[in-house]
Symmetry: C2
Subunit: 249 residues, 2 copies
């Protein structure tokens, strides 16, 4: 099967122009993995990809190595790269790890303090969320909007932690297939309301300069997302017995 939906470069990509082919190819292959165009466990053929993307093997190999560094691919010498499989247990674990890491990030942010810009962005995200949730139910597309609001909140806080390693690790957690924020789609208004309230409390703790409280709250917050996911998966009847530990948190 000749990888469908994997098109060549759309030429010089807009104003934020593309730096080089390797990076562009990296993004394309990553997307292909995350949206399932190439399936898990599959072995990646370098020449096939280079033909599909209309580049040589060199940038393809660079991209594959980068993606292996991100944990999306496995590498075996002389046998190339394979798409890593993420069983449900690994996905749930990724939430747990992210909860812990974002907790640390919240603590750091509370210790280090926020810039004026950061405060502005977060406060705007809180207001926007309140407004969106005020009606008591979602209209079409509201969840997509909230996803942006949610992203602003978390990204800004992460930036305020002022630690790159932490940011990169959390980013990796986000890139675990299924674990990304797009899954919020499945959630109820009540769940989102509750999580947005979490945001308020976390921000309060940070502004009050209470690092450990901020950490605990953030941790519980992210862990709550995990619980919601597990719950919704169970309700959908998927095999959830793979999940270790106490799913209820």
């Amino acid at each position: 099967m000749p990888d469908s939906s994997l098109s060549p470069l759309p030429e010089a990509t807009g104003p934020g122009r593309v730096a080089n082919r390797s990076l562009s190819v990296t993004d394309q292959i990553r997307d292909a993995i995350l949206d399932g165009t190439v399936s898990a466990g599959e072995r990646i053929n370098e020449v096939r990809f280079s033909k599909t993307l209309e580049v040589s093997r060199t940038p393809v190999r660079a991209a594959l190595q980068a993606l292996a560094g991100e944990g999306l691919l496995d590498y075996a010498p002389n046998r190339g790269f394979t798409v890593r499989e993420f069983p449900l247990s690994a996905i749930v674990d990724a939430y747990e790890i992210r909860a812990s890491l974002e907790g640390v990030a919240a603590r750091f942010a509370a210790e280090r303090g926020l810039s004026a810009e950061e405060r502005a962005i977060i406060e705007e995200s809180l207001v926007a969320g309140d407004k969106l949730l005020a009606r008591g139910e979602f209209a079409e597309g509201d969840l997509t909007i909230y996803r942006g609001i949610n992203g602003d909140f978390h990204d800004t806080l992460l930036g305020a932690a002022r630690n790159r390693m932490l940011a990169e690790m959390i980013r990796i957690c986000h890139h675990v297939p299924m674990s990304s924020s797009r899954n919020i789609v499945a959630f109820e208004h009540r769940d989102v309301r509750r999580r947005h309230d979490d945001h308020h409390r976390i921000y309060d703790a940070i502004m009050a300069r209470e690092p450990w409280r901020a950490e605990v709250l953030m941790r519980e917050h992210v862990s709550g997302v995990k619980s919601s996911l597990v719950k919704s998966l169970i309700e959908r009847g998927e095999q959830a017995d793979i999940v270790h530990g106490s799913a209820a948190g």
Copy 2:
């Protein structure tokens, strides 16, 4: 200056034979970074490395990309790779992150349980540590031995967590320059005694299947190493004011 102490391959490396040049080169460059042969902030010249290591640029580039994935190098398009700098604050933060991650690992281990082998290795590490510490003071080389014991304990527990992403992230924390276990060298007998007692308690919590207790204990344990490091750095008069937050933990 033509990179000293960076020698070409010593040919087919023993029984665990080298898979390919890229991996070998990766190890060599990583070592060169960690032991300071190439200094922090320095920009890496691909052709120079390829000449020194007597390989083409191709495996060198592969190695550099891999090391960038590990967070040891920075990459900028069309400007190549530079050795990433780790200010003291980043090193201290790395301990904090590791404390959090290893805490999660301990919790997972307590939830999932240990195999017979794992129990054996850990119990042996505990006994060996007790024996080594019984005399009340260290002989020459004892600290090196204890470093091995310490490694066995942590590595085995990490394996018992049965999560690869977690393992990789903790490994990255260990590879932060200065943050590696080799720095234990500076510590007193009393500190090591205390930390070995931590190991006992952590193992107890895990065997008692008390996940959260295991997590808290492990976290405090690793955090204690950080505190010792910070303390010893302050005593040595190094500029420790870079450190954010409460160093005492």
